[in-house]
C-alpha cells in the first residue's frame, strides 16, 4: 500500500478513536463549552471535523494516483 493511502486510512481512523473508544473518558458534564455540556460538545466537535479529515484523505489519495500515473509514463 502506498504512503498516501496509509495516511488516508489513518485519517479515517480518527473518528473511530474520538467518537467511540474515547467515549468513557468524555462522559462528563463539565467544563461547559459554548453553552454545551462537555459530552455533547465533544461529539459535535468531532462530527463537524470529520469532513475535514475525509477531504484531506481525498487529496492524499488523489496526489498518490497522480504520482503513480506520472511515474508510469516516464
Amino acid at each position: 500500500m502506498s504512503k498516501g493511502k496509509k495516511l488516508a486510512l489513518l485519517l479515517g481512523l480518527i473518528p473511530f478513536v474520538t467518537l467511540v473508544f474515547a467515549l468513557p473518558l468524555v462522559n462528563r458534564l463539565y467544563p461547559v463549552i459554548l453553552g454545551l455540556p462537555f459530552l455533547l460538545f465533544w461529539i459535535l466537535l468531532w462530527v463537524a471535523l470529520t469532513p475535514l479529515f475525509l477531504w484531506a484523505a481525498y487529496h492524499l489519495e488523489k496526489k498518490d494516483a497522480q504520482d503513480e500515473s506520472e511515474g508510469g509514463s516516464r
Binding site: 488516508a8 486510512l9 479515517g12 473518528p15 473511530f16 467518537l19 467511540v20 473508544f21 467515549l23 468513557p24 462522559n27 462528563r28 458534564l29 461547559v32 459554548l34 453553552g35 454545551l36 455540556p37 459530552l39 455533547l40 461529539i43 459535535l44 468531532w46 462530527v47 463537524a48 470529520t50 469532513p51 479529515f53 475525509l54 477531504w55 484523505a57 481525498y58
Partner: protein, 480 residues
C-alpha cells in the same frame, strides 16, 4: 384548521407529481428503474442518500429519545459520522465492481463475487425481511404525524393509505429517479421545519441554546450524560451500538443499491466528505426534544415531543407545514424500500432460482407487479396491525449488519470464498435471533447485533483459515 389540511394534502400531492414527472421522459428498463442509468452527480446522490437517512425515525425518534431518554440520543449524531467515514473507503471500490459487471442490487454483488446462488438468494431474502418492518415504521410514523399535525382532521389510516398509494405510483412510473426528485423537495421542507423550530423553541422559552442547557444542568444534569434517564443505555451500550449501526448502515439493501446510481466513484467519494454535515441539523431536532423535556414534562408518548411543542408554540398552519414535511420525509425512504424489496424478489429470487431464463423485460414487469403487491401488504399491516412489527425492526437492523464481512472481505480480500461467508452469516444471524427472541438484548451491556457480528467475524475467519489449509493440502496432493 382547514389551512393546515390544505397544506398537508397539497404537499403530499405535489411531491408525488414531482416523482411521476421525474421519469416521464425516460424509457423505463431495469437499469433506469433501479440505478437511474448510473448518471447521478454529487448533489443528487447527496440528496438521495440524505433522503434515505433522514427518515421519520430521525424526525420523531431523535427528538423523542432526547425527551424521554436524554443523552443516549447522541448516538444518532455519532453513527452517521462513522458510517460516512467508512463509506469513503468502501463504496468507491464497490461502485467500480458494480459498473464493471452491471450490478443493480446487493444480492447481485454477493452472487457475482462469490459465484454462489445460495448466498445471493439468502442475502435477498434477509434483505426483504429486514426491509418490511422498516417500511412499516415509515408508514405508521407518517400516519401519526399527519393525524397529530392536522389536529385529528385526517385520520391516521387514511393518511397512510392516501400517501402510500401516491408513493407507489411514482415508484411505478419513475423508479429511483422519482425518489431522487422528491428528495429535493423533502430536504428543503425538512431543513426549513427543523431550522425554524430548532432555533426557535430554545430561544422562545429560554432565550437560547446555552440557557436551555443551563436549566437542564440545574434541574436534571444526569439527563445529559450516558445513560441519561435510562437504566441500560450506558457508555458501553452506546459504543457497541454506534459501531454496529455505523458498520451496518450501508449494508441496508436500499442504501447499498443507491451507490450504483452514482455517475462515478469520485462522486461517491465527494459525497462521503459532505455527508457528515447533514448530521448537524439533527442537533436541532435533539434541542427541540430537550426543550420539550423542560416545557412539556408530562407527555404520554415521548415520540410526539416535537409535534406537541410545535402545537403549543406556533399557529396551526405551521403545524400543518411541519406535518407535511414529516409526511414527505416518510414517503422518500418508503419509496426506495418498496423499490428494492420488489427488485430483490424479482431479480434475485425469481430470476435467480425459479426462472433463470426470464428476460430483463419480464423481470422489470414482475418488479412493478411485486411493487403493487408489497404496497398492498404493507398497507394492510400498517393499518390493521400497527404494532406487530416493531420488534422485527430491531431484528432487521441486526440482520443486515451481518452482511458486513461478506461485503468488505469480498472487496478487499481475494482469498475469501463463499463457504466462509455463508458459515459466518448463518452463525451471526443465529446468535442474533437467539439473543433477541430469548430477551437477552442487550447482552452484558452490549447490543445483540454487535455480539452477532463478532461471532460472524470469528466464524468467517476460522472458516477462511480452514479453507485455505484444505486447498493447500489439495494442491500438495496434486503436486505429489
Amino acid at each position: 384548521m382547514t389551512l393546515a389540511l390544505i397544506i398537508i394534502l397539497g404537499f403530499i400531492v405535489v411531491a408525488s407529481l414531482l416523482g411521476v414527472v421525474a421519469g416521464s421522459r425516460i424509457k423505463m428498463n431495469l437499469e433506469n428503474w433501479t440505478v437511474g442509468g448510473r448518471r447521478f452527480g454529487v448533489i443528487i446522490i447527496w440528496l438521495l442518500m440524505a433522503g434515505e437517512i433522514y427518515t421519520t425515525f430521525t424526525f420523531l425518534g431523535a427528538s423523542g429519545w432526547a425527551y424521554s431518554k436524554g443523552a443516549p440520543t447522541f448516538y444518532i449524531l455519532i453513527y452517521g459520522a462513522l458510517a460516512y467515514t467508512l463509506s469513503f473507503f468502501i463504496l468507491p471500490p464497490l461502485w467500480r465492481v458494480g459498473k464493471k459487471y452491471g450490478l443493480h442490487t446487493q444480492p447481485d454483488f454477493f452472487l457475482h463475487r462469490y459465484q454462489s446462488r445460495t448466498l445471493g438468494v439468502l442475502v435477498a431474502l434477509i434483505g426483504v425481511f429486514s426491509i418490511i418492518p422498516y417500511l412499516q415504521l415509515q408508514l405508521t410514523g407518517l400516519g401519526l404525524i399527519v393525524e397529530v399535525a392536522s389536529q385529528g382532521a385526517i385520520k391516521s389510516h387514511w393518511a397512510i393509505f392516501f400517501s402510500f398509494l401516491l408513493t407507489s405510483l411514482f415508484v411505478y412510473t419513475s423508479g429511483i429517479r422519482g425518489t431522487a426528485w422528491v428528495s429535493v423537495l423533502k430536504d428543503i421542507m425538512m431543513l426549513a421545519a427543523v431550522g425554524i423550530v430548532g432555533f426557535g423553541v430554545p430561544a422562545i422559552y429560554f432565550g437560547g441554546f446555552g440557557k436551555m442547557f443551563q436549566v437542564i444542568l440545574e434541574q436534571k444534569p444526569t439527563h445529559l450524560i450516558f445513560p441519561g434517564s435510562t437504566s441500560h443505555m450506558g457508555v458501553f451500550w452506546v459504543m457497541s451500538t454506534v459501531l454496529l449501526t455505523g458498520l451496518g448502515f450501508y449494508m441496508w439493501p436500499h442504501v447499498f443499491g443507491s451507490v450504483f446510481s452514482a455517475k462515478s466513484d469520485k462522486v461517491i467519494k465527494r459525497n462521503a466528505i459532505i455527508m457528515p454535515l447533514y448530521q448537524l441539523p439533527i442537533l436541532l431536532v435533539i434541542a427541540v426534544g430537550l426543550t420539550a423535556f423542560l416545557v412539556l414534562p408530562d407527555l404520554k408518548n415521548g415520540d410526539l415531543a416535537f409535534l406537541a411543542l410545535v402545537e403549543k408554540t406556533y399557529p396551526s398552519w405551521f403545524l400543518g407545514f411541519v406535518g407535511a414535511a414529516g409526511a414527505v420525509t416518510a414517503m422518500v425512504p418508503a419509496s426506495v424500500l418498496v423499490l428494492f424489496a420488489s427488485t430483490l424478489l424479482s431479480k434475485n429470487v425469481y430470476q435467480s432460482i425459479i426462472n433463470p431464463r426470464a428476460s430483463e423485460a419480464t423481470v422489470m414487469r414482475l418488479s412493478r407487479m411485486l411493487l403493487l403487491i408489497i404496497t398492498g401488504l404493507a398497507l394492510v399491516f400498517a393499518i390493521f396491525f400497527p404494532n406487530e412489527l416493531v420488534n422485527l425492526l430491531i431484528l432487521g437492523y441486526d440482520g443486515v449488519c451481518q452482511f458486513f464481512p461478506g461485503v468488505v472481505f469480498g472487496l478487499f480480500w481475494k482469498k475469501v470464498r463463499k463457504e466462509s461467508i455463508l458459515a459466518g452469516l448463518v452463525a451471526g444471524l443465529g446468535v442474533v435471533m437467539i439473543l433477541i427472541l430469548s430477551g437477552h438484548d442487550p447482552f452484558w451491556g452490549l447490543n445483540a447485533g454487535f455480539v452477532g457480528l463478532i461471532v460472524n467475524l470469528a466464524v468467517t475467519l476460522l472458516a477462511v483459515s480452514l479453507n485455505s489449509r484444505w486447498s493447500g493440502r489439495e494442491a500438495l496432493a496434486e503436486a505429489n
